[in-house]
């Protein structure tokens, strides 16, 4: 027997869903069962056809939530280059940076807490992420431009005979070099107390300490240069060009 009844079967759920709304026969049953009607009501308000993003959370439409999501996405990509670096020892693994062990890398936390103290250096130069370049020596001479941080301390500078880097503002630092013309060793100390040394001039070679930031980590390198080189030659070799603050009187000329 072929099922050609004019009355649709509503006892089977999958058949009942196929009943078109205008059918008067289905109406009394639908109202008799409010629970069955309830989900159908919002569905009737949905536009016909495919709508992409219907499952997106309601917060996505909020401008503040959208800004937050964008900031979160940016943060996830911020330091991606660190994952591409070759392995390097940490400061706990290296006693001395020299011609054989030339590089070490700090962790993100070591690179960001307290002050990096470089003792025994006689001169230094720095470059910020905004390409502000300056230099100073232990005798108090300065060149180029200082970089002031929000804590009213220089990003890099001498305090007495010790060269200091404010690690709270490490993300403003691009790189710095530390030169040692004395006969003593140069030392680096972190907040944790971890230290590493660089030997003094020997065999006509002086070792320059290069500190440069890659993403959220600092890398420390011992770079050999001829002993006879002056500071200016070393700046040139490392491509430091001092920036200068123009006097206010020069404005508009």
């Amino acid at each position: 027997m072929v099922n050609r009844s004019s009355t649709p079967r509503t006892d089977l759920p999958y058949l009942r869903r196929r009943v078109k709304p205008p059918l008067p026969a289905a109406q009394p049953e639908a109202t008799a069962n409010p629970a069955a009607v309830a989900p159908a009501a919002p569905a009737a308000q949905q536009p016909a056809g495919l709508v992409l993003g219907r499952n997106a959370p309601p917060s996505a439409a909020n401008p503040r939530a959208a800004k937050l999501a964008a900031r979160r996405e940016a943060a996830r990509n911020e330091d991606h280059e660190v994952g591409l670096l070759f392995p390097a020892p940490g400061i706990a693994d290296v006693f001395e940076l020299n011609l054989r062990e030339r590089v070490l890398r700090l962790t993100a936390l070591e690179s960001a807490v307290g002050t990096m103290v470089v003792s025994g250096s006689t001169a230094m130069a720095w470059e910020s992420t905004r390409r502000v370049v300056g230099g100073a020596d232990a005798a108090g001479h300065t060149a180029g431009s200082p970089v002031k941080t929000s804590g009213n301390r220089p990003l890099v500078g001498y305090d007495g005979t010790a060269a200091l880097v404010s690690l709270r503002h490490v993300r403003e630092l691009r790189r710095a070099i530390f030169i040692n013309r004395s006969s003593g060793t140069m030392g680096v100390q972190l907040f944790s107390g971890a230290t590493v040394a660089l030997p003094p001039v020997a065999g006509g070679i002086q070792l320059v300490l290069l500190v440069h930031r890659i993403g959220n980590v600092l890398e420390l390198r011992a770079e050999p240069v001829p002993e006879a080189w002056e500071d200016l030659q070393i700046w040139q070799e490392f491509d430091f060009t001092m920036t200068h603050q123009a006097p206010a009187g020069a404005y508009g000329r």
Partner: protein, 183 residues
């Protein structure tokens, strides 16, 4: 919006069904200074059931913007210090997330919370609807160099927030010791 006192807790997901994302904001006023100023650093630690940091990759602060599992993100900028937590993405082995602020231990004067006023922590939705807030009580904080403001923690299948306001005289070193962080 609920205002908490130290030690009090509030159900977040229990009272806000469907909540899977919160923004934890930390704020304070500092007395302006022309000299070297104490620099405060917001910091989040993802802890296991024993209360220890899972690893140093499970810390979130200005120089490590995302936790190892990408569930917690530092979303602060110059104007606001906020940490974004996707509750649904937090791994099961994270039992709580601790929020603290430490004074950066600069060798040219370490500073303390002495110059800090009106500090608070707030938990809000992504749309900035404030769920709970804890205003740190006014107290003498001259010797305090780190403060645990509060923590998000699991309670069964729910997330709750507890206000703490616990000060340290030993700064980040003391916090690191208590939470198993390698400095």
């Amino acid at each position: 919006m609920a205002s908490l006192i130290a030690g009090a807790n509030a159900a977040l997901t229990g009272e806000n069904p469907g909540l899977d994302h919160v923004v934890v904001g930390l704020g304070w006023d500092a007395i302006p200074s022309h000299g070297p100023a104490a620099e405060l650093v917001p910091f989040a630690v993802l802890c296991d059931a024993g209360g220890q940091a899972l690893s140093n990759d499970h810390l979130v602060f200005f120089n490590q913007l995302v936790s190892a599992d990408a569930s917690v993100t530092f979303a602060g900028d110059a104007d606001q210090e906020q940490i974004d937590v996707e509750l649904g993405a937090v791994p099961a082995d994270v039992a709580k997330i601790v929020f603290l602020v430490y004074v950066d231990p600069d060798v040219r004067g370490r500073g303390s919370f002495a110059s800090v006023r009106n500090s608070h922590i707030r938990v809000a939705t992504a749309e900035n609807r404030e769920l709970v807030r804890f205003d740190m009580p006014a107290a003498t904080l001259d010797a305090v160099t780190a403060v645990i403001f509060g923590e998000l923690y699991r309670h069964g299948s729910e997330w709750k927030f507890r206000a703490l306001g616990q000060g340290y005289n030993t700064g980040l070193a003391g916090v690191a010791k208590d939470y198993g962080i390698t400095l």
